[in-house]
């Protein structure tokens, strides 16, 4: 231990960054244990304070109900007085705008973030900077679409993922604004770092083993990115037994549970018909989760 090995990045003993933990000059095992204890205490005391919920990424296995939950959550947060911005970062799924009740889609924002786009050079931007043709609004909820793959020869979604990452990173939220990201299915976006700028990650879990495993991986990866507020929302729970079993499986994977949405025949019918989401019971259930998130009582 010495110059380059200090856990706190202090270049040498008694530098300004040095906390005199003693690790660099510890000789015996006891001294090292004692020094490690001091470092842990210091890090605990100086950990960055948990920020309020403002950028929420909704992830999960395909078909688990991400888009439905995003819609319900947007309505719930709006009901709680937040100015909600919904970003559709899912490259392949056309449903979100329709579920929100938006007629006609906004232009894809990725155009502005391409190499010659006007936004690619900018460090930060706010909602006011985005031209109106890229934002659709309905009942006070603003909706942005990153881009869609429509043409089979458009190729890989990587550049869209890169646009998503930049949008989430650079969009500066004003007070009282809340951002909800509808992520693409699975884990690919994590590899591209799209979620890194989010402060809250919700993994949507339907009653299937695969969905549970994906949630476990999401929680693990989010933790590795230093995102503290990560939890699962159980969706389509058809009975108490199914919910209990799913909870147990998630607990085995050390995934926190933020809430439960029971199976709703109404929602299933709406999904089939492609109508805007409207379901009183589900809305109440999501309302509880949203209130908990806003109170910052879950972590």
């Amino acid at each position: 231990m010495g110059l380059f090995h200090c856990p706190l990045g202090s270049p040498y003993y008694d530098d300004d960054a040095c906390i005199d933990c003693g690790l660099c000059y510890a000789n015996t095992a006891e001294e090292k244990v004692e020094a490690s204890r001091r470092i842990r205490e210091y890090m605990k005391a100086h950990a960055p304070r948990k920020s309020a919920v403002s950028k929420i990424a909704v992830c999960g296995k395909g078909g688990s109900g991400k888009t439905t939950v995003v819609t319900l959550l947007a309505l719930a947060l709006k009901g709680a007085g937040r100015k909600v911005i919904v970003i559709d970062a899912d490259e392949s799924n056309p449903g979100l705008g329709r579920m929100l009740g938006i007629k006609g889609e906004p232009q894809a924002l990725s155009v502005l973030f391409n190499e010659d786009g006007t936004f690619s050079e900018r460090e930060r931007f706010s909602m006011d900077d985005i031209p109106p043709e890229f934002v659709a609004a309905v009942d006070g909820i603003r909706f942005i679409m990153v881009g869609k793959i429509l043409d089979p020869f458009q190729g890989c979604a990587c550049s869209l993922a890169e646009s998503s990452r930049q949008i989430v990173e650079k969009l500066e939220l004003k007070e009282n604004e809340a951002l909800i990201l509808d992520m693409e299915a699975g884990l690919e976006s994590f590899g591209r770092g799209v979620e890194r700028q989010a402060d809250t990650i919700l993994a949507i879990v339907e009653p299937s083993l695969e969905s549970i495993i994906v949630a476990g991986r999401i929680a693990q990866m989010a933790q590795g990115m230093g995102i503290g507020r990560v939890g699962a929302i159980l969706n389509k729970m058809s009975s108490q037994n199914v919910a209990t079993h799913t909870k147990q499986e998630l607990e085995k994977l050390a995934v926190k549970i933020y809430g439960v949405l029971n199976f709703s025949p109404g929602l299933a019918a709406i999904a089939l018909e492609g109508k805007p989401v409207h379901d009183r019971i589900a809305a109440e259930e999501v309302g509880i989760i949203a209130a908990d998130l806003l109170k910052n009582s879950i972590n």
């Binding site: 300004d16 960054a17 842990r40």
Partner: protein, 367 residues
């Protein structure tokens, strides 16, 4: 291709050079060396004798200055009474201290200038400054180089278990960039981009091994944040932007090096480019979360990866139903550096994510 050398022959030559250049040292050097590296009477006293002349070592022995007001803060300042006790001119003492600071023996602590406290602190500081290469001479570097013994390839047995390693391997970025689940702490370009300050230094480890055979350029030590600030102040480093730093590691993709950094998630110290012929950290560097796997059907059997692997994980073997010998990386030994991956021309190699995020500790904790 890298020229391979016999580490034992190289070490024998090094020892012979030290024997030839024996020089006596005053007791004061022995006494101070004992503070830094207790028990060693041969190497450390001579290292100190190279760094500080008779006048300078007297100053070092008297540090820290007991008369310095505690409010003066971290600096290289000394008090008037310190100068008069030593019977030397204050300006002269300050000049000596500045030189010793640049050489890496003296540090500006909160108690004013003070000697290096530990062996590794001195090692990392006192080998990084190329401005004093000529005045220190080759024998100075040979003394440092002899401490670690013959520079053999890392063995699996060198690796401490669990989190008990100070270092970890960071995979070469091109080898893992398309693997889903890559974390920021193993993404070398992202690591460099997230730092506030980067300085590139001459690598001290490489300087200490004058007979090294890896052929990697000496200017290969990327220091970050406060460590970069310290090295810029000592004029040992060159300030570079994160893009320049990324282009440096991209250049090293053609070199036989392994990225090594401190075994924790937040990287605030340095990013190394190591080869076993001149680096000790590599022996104990914890595996990355990846391993390299070979598709024997695609492997052309060129053996370039066998030579490139520093950890003795890659061998040639025969596979059922496939003609000829093909490369094989032992998943138990592979440390997931990605070096073999990026030089494979036949596209037979890929990196596989095999370990959970917890494999890399939140913070370096030896115990």
């Amino acid at each position: 291709m890298t020229k391979q050398a016999d580490p034992f022959k190289v070490y024998a030559k090094l020892k012979a050079r030290i024997e030839e250049n024996q020089f006596p040292v005053e007791p004061i050097y022995l006494e101070l060396a004992n503070r830094i590296f207790p028990g060693d009477k041969e190497i450390m006293p001579r290292i100190l004798a190279c760094l500080a002349n008779a006048e300078q070592i007297k100053i070092v022995a008297a540090l820290p200055d007991p008369n310095l007001p505690p409010s003066s803060g971290r600096s290289l300042e000394i008090s008037d009474s310190f100068a008069s006790t030593l019977g030397m001119d204050k300006i002269l003492i300050m000049q000596h201290i500045r030189e010793l600071y640049e050489k890496g023996l003296v540090f500006p602590t909160k108690k004013g200038p003070a000697m290096a406290r530990t062996f590794i602190q001195l090692h990392d500081a006192a080998l990084g400054n190329p401005n004093y290469d000529k005045s220190l001479g080759r024998i100075y570097y040979d003394l440092w180089g002899s401490i670690e013994g013959p520079m053999t390839k890392p063995e699996p047995a060198n690796l401490p278990a669990g989190h008990a390693s100070e270092f970890r391997v960071v995979p070469r970025w091109p080898s893992i960039k398309d693997v889903p689940g890559v974390q920021p702490f193993e993404n070398a370009p992202a690591l460099l981009k997230s730092r506030s300050l980067i300085a590139v230094l001459r690598c001290g480890c490489k300087a200490a091994h004058t007979d090294r055979w890896c052929g990697v350029p000496e200017e290969s030590c990327l220091t970050l944040d406060r460590t970069a600030e310290y090295n810029l102040d000592r004029k040992t480093g060159r300030k570079i932007s994160s893009d320049e730093a990324i282009s440096i590691i991209e250049k090293f993709d053609r070199q036989p090096t392994v990225h090594v950094t401190v075994n924790q998630r937040e990287v605030t110290q340095l990013l190394c480019n190591c080869h076993y012929c001149c680096c000790l950290a590599i022996k104990i560097a914890q595996k990355s979360r990846f391993i390299s796997v070979v598709d024997p059907a695609k492997c052309k059997g060129c053996k370039v990866c066998v030579e490139r692997c520093q950890f003795q994980a890659t061998t040639m073997k025969t596979f059922d139903g496939i003609k000829g010998e093909k490369a094989f990386s032992d998943p138990e030994i592979c440390r997931g550096c990605g070096s073999c991956n990026i030089i494979c021309k036949s596209g037979a190699r890929s990196m596989k994510l095999v370990r959970p995020v917890e494999h890399v500790p939140e913070t370096l904790s030896i115990y």
